[in-house]
Structure formats: C-alpha cells, structure tokens
Symmetry: C2
Subunit: 200 residues, 2 copies
C-alpha cells in the first residue's frame, strides 16, 4: 500500500485541496464525508457546481455576478440611478446590501491596484465605469474599497481620475468598529476616528 489513498479518493482530496481555504486534512475529511454521504448529497453538490458554471455570468453594465445581464440591480427602476458604489468584488455588494442603508447602483472593479501582484489600473474594470459616468444621470460615486493598502491606493487613483468630471466622489468613513473596544483599536484606526470626529 502506498502512502497515498487509492486513485479516486486521492483525486477527490486533491481537487478539494485546490480550493481556497481548504487544507489537506480538511479535504480528506470532506472526501470521506462525501464517500459515506447519500448519493443525493453528492449529486446536489455536482449539480450546484455545474449550474453555476453554466448559468452565472458577469453583468455587462456593473460587473456583478448574475444569471441575466444586465443584472437585477442595474435593471431595478426603484433603485437610485444617480449614485454608483464602486467595490472590489461581487461579494462586497452583498455586504453593503446587508446594511439596508444603500439604494443606489454598484460597479465591480474586479480587484484593487496591487503592484506586488502586478495588478495595475489597466487590469481593473475602470473603462466601463467611465462610460457609465458619461451620462448626465450619475451625481455621486462612492468608493467602497477594502480599508487596506491596495484599497487605499485604488481609492486615491480613482479619486484623482474622477474628480475632473464634476461628479461628487466620496469614500467610506474610517473609524472605530461599532461594538469594538477603544483599548484594542490599533493606532491607525484610532487616528482616523479622531480625524473624522463629528459633533456629538
């Protein structure tokens, strides 16, 4: 007996190990789970994967994931078409939707400027954003990028790019997370919270 599993099991472990966030032990656990799971459960997983690959596309307007293009958000007449919120990834849209605070449109960049990973402005979905801003309709662009170095760089880049267009460009507030503890806030966050202080 070799020190790897029999063909099919090892191939399944390898396939799961290749997914983000799953290590060899986790992949082994999932493989044995599927092995003893009812046929239906394995079938449901297979169907879900192939359905996503067949049906899900990116919206031609905003770059969000969707089954119809333009996506339901872009097509929704009840949403505020004068505001576009720029995010890095489609999953960020879900995070903002969960706040129930925003009723405008979105634009997915598909990443952030990251010289270390060779991602420059040309690799992002910026030309389509500029096309969308050519209409008179849009009054404000909210830059909602991740609060890290790459997100900051992208925010600065877009802010400079968009400000000559005469559209209001805003960014998310930095500060203390709600429910957090002052003692455990890092200096940069606490500094931003001081800088952005408001009348109480």
């Amino acid at each position: 007996m070799a020190l790897a599993y029999d063909g099919a099991i090892q191939r399944l472990i390898d396939a799961f190990s290749a997914l983000p966030g799953i290590g060899p032990k986790g992949a082994q656990r999932i493989a044995f789970h599927l092995l003893s799971a009812p046929e239906d459960e394995a079938r449901a997983l297979i169907d879900a994967i192939s359905e996503v690959k067949q049906k899900v596309r990116f919206c031609d307007v905003c770059g969000n994931v969707c089954e119809t293009s333009p996506c339901p958000v872009c097509m929704d007449p009840r949403r505020d078409h004068t505001v576009i919120c720029v995010v890095e990834e489609p999953k960020d849209i879900m995070s903002i939707e969960r706040t129930r605070e925003y009723r405008g449109l979105y634009h997915v960049l598909g990443g952030a400027i990251n010289p270390m990973a060779n991602v420059g402005p040309a690799d992002l979905n910026i030309p389509k954003l500029l096309d969308r801003l050519k209409t008179d309709e849009v009054k404000e662009v909210i830059l909602a990028l991740d609060p890290n170095i790459e997100g900051e760089a992208t925010t600065t880049y877009l802010s400079r790019l968009l400000s000559p267009l005469g559209i209001r460009v805003t960014r998310l507030a930095s500060g203390l997370p709600v429910g957090g503890d002052l003692e455990y806030a890092d200096e940069v966050t606490l500094g931003r919270a001081l800088e952005g202080r408001r009348d109480a």
Copy 2:
C-alpha cells in the same frame, strides 16, 4: 435585490456550507473561486466527486475504502496476516501506514462506542472482526482507537470481548508526544507517561 445571492450562486454556497469544516464565509469564497475558475477546474472537481461515488466501495473483509474488494492490503501476501490492527475510521489506516512501522492487516470499526450519539457496539463492524479471528492465523489484535472517552470505552469493550479467544490483545501506548514539551503536557497524559515508563 434580496439579501441572498441569485439562485445558482446561493445553491452552490449552500451545498458547500453543508460539507464538514466549511462555514458560510468559506463556502462563499469557494463559490466565487469556482465561478471565475477555468471550466477545467470545475470539471475536475465534478469528475472527482462522481468518480468516488461510483468507484469507491468498502472492503468486505476489513471495511477499508477501496476500489476493489477485498482491498489491496487484505490481498497483499507480503503483509503479516497474523496481526490485525483495529481502527475507528479508514483515514486512521493512512495515519498508521505513514509510520512505516506496521506491516499487518487492518479492521475498520466505522466509529467508536458513544452513548451520547446513540452509537453502541451493535452499530460497529464487530461481527466481521470476530469472523476474521475464527481462523487460526491471527495471533494478535492491536486496538488503535482514538485516545478519547469514546475510544477508551471501545477499547475496554473489545478487550473484554476478545480476551477469552486466547489471542493477544494489545493497545497503543499513551505518553508524551515526541517533540512536545513536558511543561505543556496535561496531567492525564503525563500520568500515563509515568505509569508506562520504561528502563532507559
């Protein structure tokens, strides 16, 4: 827009969330990874799942996972057929094989006695073990169950069951893990290490 993803993506996230060790955030990450992954990668995962469900069976003799029954270990004439190592799960066989210290056969119980989860001796693959011990060939049974409450209970149960058969019944040694630190050993482990001390 609802607070869940469009149909197909949400179904894929749900299918991955149902797997052991994957939470909602991890499932979302995997779903978006598969969405933008090349068709080949998704296809490889689908094929690996269906191949395992089609090909992999449990060995009729020892209960190990295999593509042929009896499994390659049971059929291997170079292995020592006078020793059977009893384990809880097929993955434990791989752990023992990795030590390269053992050349005997295996027997998979399919779990351990756990009254809290309603698993009793009748739910384990014990009758087949007794059948295997009826031949004159087997001289020793090594009980290699997990060193926790359920494993201990199962070890005690099997030890009482097998000792009247006149076969040597052994269990794995308890003690300090190699590479560990005495200071961080728990009292029970340290107690076992003292109890099982050997001449240096």
